[in-house]
């Protein structure tokens, strides 16, 4: 079980959170202008690295806010990401 530090509520059990995968994937400003390849890249392709990774989490059983977290995908070490609440 991960212990995750919510920037608003403090450290809680992983079961209070939902996962949001890669951080920083913005909704395209003009989706209809995208090519099929660009739309597929936005919709389906996400980073999947070994090692340190900035990812999104949602504190579903707490403040119900999204935030970024940096986690090592091999060791599960966690450190706060630069960008936090959105």
């Amino acid at each position: 079980m991960l212990r995750i530090s919510c920037p608003h509520c403090g450290e809680r059990d992983e079961t209070e959170f939902h996962y949001g995968a890669e951080s920083g994937v913005a909704y395209p400003p003009d989706p209809s202008a995208l090519s099929d390849e660009e739309w597929a890249a936005y919709l389906f392709f996400r980073a999947n690295p070994r090692g340190w990774f900035v990812e999104r989490w949602f504190h579903a059983a707490g403040c119900r806010r999204w935030f970024d977290l940096e986690r090592n995908t091999v060791t599960d070490e966690i450190r706060p990401a630069e960008v936090t609440a959105r």
């Binding site: 079980m1 991960l2 059990d13 992983e14 079961t15 939902h18 996962y19 995968a21 099929d36 390849e37 597929a40 890249a41 919709l43 389906f44 392709f45 996400r46 999947n48 690295p49 070994r50 990774f53 990812e55 986690r71 995908t73 091999v74 060791t75 599960d76």
Partner: protein, 407 residues
């Protein structure tokens, strides 16, 4: 229940550990079931024997040793049913093909329905399977109670058994014996099996991959075939190719050895548990994936806890069983829960990945299909729908219903 004989004696020698040569016609990255089967069929069906299988650890020590060995073909869509049934047919003759025992037991797989949506989905899948010529059936709670007497089919459980799909030809096999059987047979045909050779990079010229850099030196290649399951993205990142896969830890566990009480594979997607009893007597149970991506080959305990609670509800008799050990494999999950098979943007590089939580059952099928794809330089007809281009075209093969977590 048809069970294939007794376990074979533990062999002294199966294959020779090869020293890497300077180059090969085909280099397969990943010495699990898929990699070994691909090497075997390249040699057996296509006469391509100058082949190396590179394994970063020990042979068959990744997901091949970490799955729950369930074999079935009752997938919803035509494309999936075709490739999984191709595989199931090969399983049915695999002991003769490899001349080795793999303890293939066609004891049937039951997928339980616990609510109205499950019933509708299950019946739809049975109908689709029957249209594809598969041996799928719908069973009511009474029939399920007769088939699996230790299953609680009363209305007591929180998620009562309201029915289920059943595929009698489905079953289990002994995963280690499958890996060793393919390794032995491939080696006998001239394939080099190279363990402790981790791929650290690739050399490319123009649009061709010319060599792999490994912890045991640089190895030149004619064609590259990735077979690395959950670690595929790490390799394709090094090739500069992005894939729509996310690698998750998927856990499983075994109990201590018990008297034989269960001769059917029972799966429940709704409560996230699937269980069979191995020949020796241990209960083999699979859990769900951790939501987050991870490469640590271990999962979170709360996932196991939920799985045990579900198993206890369905099988009250399991309450006194003890967990012997738990572990995790790294599964590569695609957006539509279907695999990716075909060519990479490089002219001589191929990928087989994205089998997610269900790759074991596909071992013989994908081995033959992937070998054919590599040998002929075009996708095998069964692989055509599973190309990387489907994420751009939108022709997804959505198997979340048939696969879900319990693939």
């Amino acid at each position: 229940m048809r069970t294939s004989q007794r376990p074979p004696e533990h062999p002294d020698f199966l294959w020779a550990d090869a020293e890497p040569k300077s180059s090969y016609d085909v280099v397969i990255v990943g010495g699990g079931g898929h990699g070994l089967a691909t090497a075997y069929y390249l040699a057996r069906n296509h006469g391509i024997t100058n082949v190396a299988v590179l394994e970063k650890g020990w042979l068959g020590g990744g997901n091949m040793a970490r799955n729950t060995t369930i074999i079935r073909s009752n997938y919803l869509w035509d494309e999936s049913a075709a490739i999984y049934e191709h595989s199931l047919k090969l399983w049915e003759t695999l002991e003769d093909e490899l001349d080795t025992q793999i303890m293939f037991s066609q004891r049937g797989v039951l997928n339980l329905a616990h609510n109205l949506a499950d019933i509708r989905e299950g019946k739809r899948r049975v109908n689709a399977n029957q249209l594809n010529g598969l041996d799928a059936q719908w069973l009511g709670p009474d029939e399920i109670g007769k088939l699996v007497p230790i299953l609680d089919v009363t209305d007591r459980p929180r998620y009562p058994v309201l029915g289920g799909t059943f595929q009698p030809r489905a079953g289990i096999a002994k995963h280690d014996y499958v890996a060793w059987g393919y390794a032995r047979a491939a080696h006998a045909l001239g394939v080099d099996i190279i363990q402790n050779a981790q791929v650290t990079g690739f050399a490319t010229t123009g649009e061709r991959v010319t060599a792999v850099e490994t912890s045991r030196g640089t190895i030149g290649l004619g064609r590259l075939a990735l077979c690395a399951a959950g670690h595929t993205a790490d390799l394709t990142d090094r090739l500069g190719v992005r894939l729509p896969v996310q690698s998750h830890p998927l856990q499983a566990l075994v109990s201590e050895l018990l008297e034989q009480v269960l001769d059917t594979v029972v799966m429940s997607n709704a409560v996230h548990v699937y269980v069979s009893q191995a020949h020796k007597g241990e209960l083999v149970m699979g859990a769900g994936v951790d939501a987050h991506i991870g490469y640590g080959q271990r999962g979170s305990f709360h996932v196991i806890e939920e799985q045990m609670a579900a198993a206890m509800e369905l099988f009250p008799i399991f309450a006194r069983a003890h967990v012997l050990r738990t572990w995790a494999g790294i599964v590569d999950v695609t957006p539509d829960a279907s695999p990716i098979i075909g060519q990479l943007p490089h002219a001589n590089a191929y990928v087989n990945c994205g089998w997610g939580t269900g790759g074991f059952k596909a071992t013989p099928g994908i081995g033959s299909v992937y070998a054919d794809t590599i040998a002929e330089g075009r996708p095998h007809p069964l692989a055509v729908p599973f190309g990387l281009d489907r994420f751009t075209s939108g022709r997804l093969i959505d198997e979340h219903g048939a696969a879900a977590v319990a693939h």
